[in-house]
């Protein structure tokens, strides 16, 4: 009977361990397949083509060039490797500027013919039209329909997923935003967090501790929207006045809010680590004539280093992955930040803000999954590097 019971318990434990691992693997696999799908997507919107005059010898364009052309930032073919002639752009909605209703036909049945002839007679034209509309024998050249390339995504400096004809999925600004905000958040949180942890574990009286500790743990339970709200109402206006900024929503506001959010975890974990430093070590140090502060700096902190670092990592993890509060206070401008007082945008905020409007299965949707994968890697790298650092401490306690 007892054996049977133990077998059941073991079975349940094994099962739950197995299921959990499987779920985690599935999530990761799902992220990866969805994210990798981005690189199979055509650069230009599905079903559309970019058609040129037969004489034009430009055969391929990058997404950024396409966007610049249609934004009229590039106005001459020689800027993008063609002959010296002005560019005219053509979108379907322009068709009535060139043709009368009679020419197009009452049911628009001649529209393909018209556009084909228009392209044939204007040497500098680039037309963005549905492929099915143009007759198969149209006298036009098509821009090669390449897929979205790795370099466009990972080295691209513009994130513009709704641009037509070619959306831009450069993640550099988002990556920079995320790292920038997290870095500053840690820079703010670290000195405060460590000092409070040292204070709580070494200086505060038992009474003080019994009040402070629950309060700090309570801070951990406050939902991040509330922190975001606080940031929006208090920190953002304060920064705007303090630094004389056009807008207060900025990376700095984000890092301050994140620092506040990371503090409770950092403090409690680091404090627990320091308090668990054996009394015998403290006594040994004091008995050698070390002062209390020497003991803290040279014995207590070094011997609880692995606990302190895990506190810091948990804090960083929160900063890197935090969505709501950052979304509310950073201003969400997808530009590469040059200073911390500019608006910027982080990866999680982008995913949260855009997933709702991205059609499932489309390039934009897959790009957001790719962002998820990247986020996953960032946290993975942070965790592993810290693991590595703390494992290098040769003088571990037993």
């Amino acid at each position: 009977m007892k054996k049977f019971f133990e077998a059941i318990v073991r079975g349940v434990l094994t099962c739950s361990g197995f299921v959990t691992s499987l779920v985690i693997l599935l999530i990761i696999g799902f992220l990866f397949t969805e994210g990798a799908g981005l690189f199979n997507e055509p650069m230009v919107e599905e079903g559309y083509v970019l058609a040129l005059n037969k004489e034009n010898d430009v055969s391929s364009l990058t997404a950024e060039q396409i966007k610049a052309v249609f934004d009229e930032d590039i106005v001459n073919w020689k800027e993008i490797g063609g002959r010296d002639m002005p560019i005219t752009t053509f979108r379907l909605e322009d068709v009535e500027r060139y043709f009368t209703v009679e020419e197009l036909g009452s049911e628009y049945e001649h529209v393909g013919m018209c556009i084909a002839s228009l392209i044939a007679r204007s040497p500098g034209m680039i037309a963005f039209v549905p492929q099915s509309m143009l007759p198969a024998d149209a006298e036009v050249r098509y821009i090669d329909d390449s897929t979205i390339s790795l370099s466009e995504v990972f080295a691209g400096t513009e994130w513009f997923p709704t641009a037509t004809p070619a959306p831009l999925f450069g993640i550099v600004p988002l990556l920079a935003g995320t790292l920038w905000v997290s870095l500053f958040a840690i820079l703010f949180a670290l000195p405060f967090g460590l000092s409070v942890a040292v204070y709580m574990s070494e200086v505060a009286s038992e009474r003080m501790r019994s009040v402070l500790k629950p309060v700090i743990e309570l801070l951990n339970g406050i939902p991040s929207v509330v922190y975001g709200f606080f940031g929006l109402i208090v920190i953002v206006p304060l920064l705007q006045q303090g630094f004389n900024l056009p807008v207060g929503e900025s990376g700095l506001a984000g890092s301050i809010v994140l620092a506040i959010m990371a503090l409770p975890t950092m403090i409690t974990v680091a404090e627990d680590a320091m308090r668990s430093c054996p009394r015998s070590l403290r006594e040994a140090s004091l008995a050698l004539g070390a002062t209390r502060w020497q003991t803290i700096c040279k014995v207590v902190i070094p011997s609880s280093m692995s606990g302190i670092t895990s506190g810091i990592v948990l804090g960083i993890g929160r900063a890197v992955g935090e969505t709501m509060a950052v979304l509310m206070v950073t201003g969400n401008a997808a530009i590469i930040p040059t200073s911390i007082v500019e608006p910027l945008r982080t990866i999680p905020a982008t995913i949260a803000a855009e997933l709702g409007e991205a059609p499932a299965g489309g390039a934009h949707y897959q790009a957001l999954f790719l962002l998820g994968v990247i986020l996953f890697f960032i946290t993975l790298v942070i965790n592993m590097s810290v693991e590595y650092i703390s494992s290098r401490n040769k003088y571990k306690l037993r």
């Binding site: 038992e206 054996p278 015998s280 070590l281 006594e283 040994a284 140090s285 004091l286 008995a287 050698l288 004539g289 070390a290 002062t291 020497q294 040279k298 014995v299 070094p302 011997s303 401490n393 040769k394 003088y395 571990k396 306690l397 037993r398």
Partner: protein, 249 residues
């Protein structure tokens, strides 16, 4: 007299742990504290270097003089005092540092910067603790790579490095095997030439082997304090007699 204890009473909260203790200890002597568990030996020992200051809600009356100076006088700087009075604990408690740094620690926290001097002092004290030959090739290794007995000798070396004039040892050999114990006892006999030693022990033979004088404690009182020979051969009090012959405790 190196150390004079006058009318000590000590309380943990309302618990009267030490009752009216007075004794004198001469320079370069080894004094053993014996007595059943919970009789207050550790409490008493920790009064000499003010380790009990760390425990909240304790109270002391009476005086302890070392070299004629009151240990508990208000102007005494505790860290200076503790450098003068070394301590070795019951369990080896090396720092999570290298062997070298463990011994150098006391010098460093007391402001010694001279690297050559530190290296010299580390070697000297490790030799003094009969550990040098075993560790001289791995000074940079973690102290936790040593055996328990080696760790305890390292802790003795660590305490000796700051040149104290008194060494307090709280059951220094209780966690060690017989061979390591013999080495520690040998060490105590050597160290006596340089300083005054107070050692707490549960091991009667050990007290008999290493000490010049022995104090027997019982329920917070010092029952008898005399030459070790006298205590172990002709104790005056029956409690002492019973304890050393193993009839209670």
């Amino acid at each position: 007299m190196k150390i004079e204890v006058k009318d000590i009473d000590f309380y943990y909260g309302s618990f009267h742990a030490l009752k009216n203790i007075s004794m004198g200890i001469e320079q370069n002597k080894v004094v053993a504290f014996i007595g059943p568990s919970g009789c207050g030996k550790s409490t008493f020992l920790r009064l000499f270097n003010r380790m009990n200051d760390l425990i909240p809600d304790t109270r002391l009356t009476g005086q302890i003089l070392i070299d004629g100076k009151d240990v508990y006088a208000p102007k005494v700087e505790v860290d200076v005092l503790r450098k003068e009075i070394g301590m070795v604990f019951q369990r080896p408690n090396p720092f999570p540092m290298s062997i070298f740094e463990n011994v150098a620690y006391g010098l460093r926290v007391n402001g010694v910067k001279d690297k050559v001097f530190i290296a010299q002092r580390v070697e000297e004290t490790l030799r003094g603790a009969a550990l040098w030959d075993e560790v001289k090739d791995k000074l940079k290794a973690s102290a936790y790579a040593l055996s328990g007995g080696q760790q305890q000798r390292l802790c003795i070396a660590r305490a000796m490095a700051v040149s104290p004039s008194v060494l307090l040892m709280d059951e220094p050999a209780s966690a060690l095997d017989p061979i390591s114990t013999a080495k520690v006892e040998e060490l105590i006999r050597e160290l006596r030439k340089e300083l005054t030693i107070i050692i707490v022990t549960h091991n009667m033979q050990q007290a008999a082997r290493v000490s010049d004088k022995t104090a027997f404690f019982y329920m917070g009182e010092m029952v008898e304090y005399d030459d070790t020979k006298v205590i172990f051969t002709h104790p005056r009090k029956t409690e002492t007699q019973n304890y050393i012959t193993g009839r209670f405790g």
